[in-house]
Amino acid sequence: MFILDIVSSILLIAGVFFGFSGAVGLFKFPDFFTRVHAASVTDSIAAILVISGLLLQTSFDLNTAKLVFILLFLMITSPTASHALAKSARHGGLLTLAEAKTENKGADDKQEQAH
């Protein structure tokens, strides 16, 4: 049974590492759309790894069923929520960094032409 403990610890540590990398990405990335990408991808992978790490600890009873339900639910809803957020941001007129740059450049050109 010792192997199970090792495998689940590896899974847990990997899951937490990805969660941490997502958190760092949340602050390091320049604009919103890269941040939402970082957060949602690492959310999913961290959830998979941590919950499967915990799954190995349970002895196939009601807790296993609950954990599998949580895993499936998170797998369905977390990417959907991030997609809906990004779509709503796009719909709300938020520009990506590249577009913002081209728009500023466009605005500067117009000013030059105006003078």
């Binding site: 339900f69 639910f73 369905i76 809803t77 959907t80 997609h83 809906a84 779509k87 709503s88 719909h91």
Partner: protein, 325 residues
Amino acid sequence: MAELIDLVLLAMLALTALRIIFLKDLFAVVMLFGIYSFLSALIFINLDAVDVAFTEASVGAGISTVLMLGTLALTGRKEKKNSHSSLLPLLVVTVTGAALIYGTLDMPPFGDPDNPVHQHVAPRYIEESPQEIGLPNMVTSVLASYRAFDTLGEVVVVFAAAIGVLALLGIRRKKDSDLESGLKEHKVLHVIAKIVIPHVILFALYVQFHGDFGPGGGFQAGVIAAAAFILYALVFGLPNTLAVASPKFLQWMASFGVLLYAGVGLVSMIKGGQFLDYNKLAADPIAGQHYGIIIIELGVGITVFAVMLSIFYAFSSQAERSNVQ
């Protein structure tokens, strides 16, 4: 370990409250309030209050946040600059805070087993309630059996709140409102919501009938079922939801739940016991307790579900009215 988690969570909670004070954008205030009730539910888990965490998470973070967002949709997002200076409130707050902190100094230390609060009433319920009522979850046995009359009063309070909200904001049932108020262009949400909603209702039923053995019960189950319908209304729009669960049906359900609860009391009186004394409900008192608790939890669940949903109807039908103007 538990103390460390407790310290960190309480610090995060205090920071959230501080941040809420200085935020001017009301949308952000409501979202941070959602986090605030999530965090306080986490702290309740850490303080071994499992049922309370369940209720705080589903009611505090779920329903209140949705209702406040509904109100903000009508009253606008920006808080205007307040004219009077904030020196006087600060002074009043610091003085009362200092007095209260001084008061907490001679309170019994946190978590000490021989605090006076654990010596008098609690041991009787911890020892006798499993024998008298036979339920592992002592909180449900106290809530539903020893304090059944109080819980009946509480269900009536929730019922009265629904009457109040419906009296203030009627539900507009204009069938021809062509305004599709759901998230129209979010096709992915439409598909996912169709997959998720049945499971949420299934989980609500599990919580309803699992209340005797683990955390859960009528209130939490009613709120989670209402949250499933609210999700349906948010994604597919109010007119479709009004077709699914019409306000008239919800009013019937709300009153039926309260009547079911009081009916159990009357039946136990007819069978010779006191009002809401479940021992007489069946031959064996323990079985009678089980029947009584399951039925009144069902009554509570039905009422809370119908009340929370009709309150949501009242708020979101206002949003459409303001958009149409």
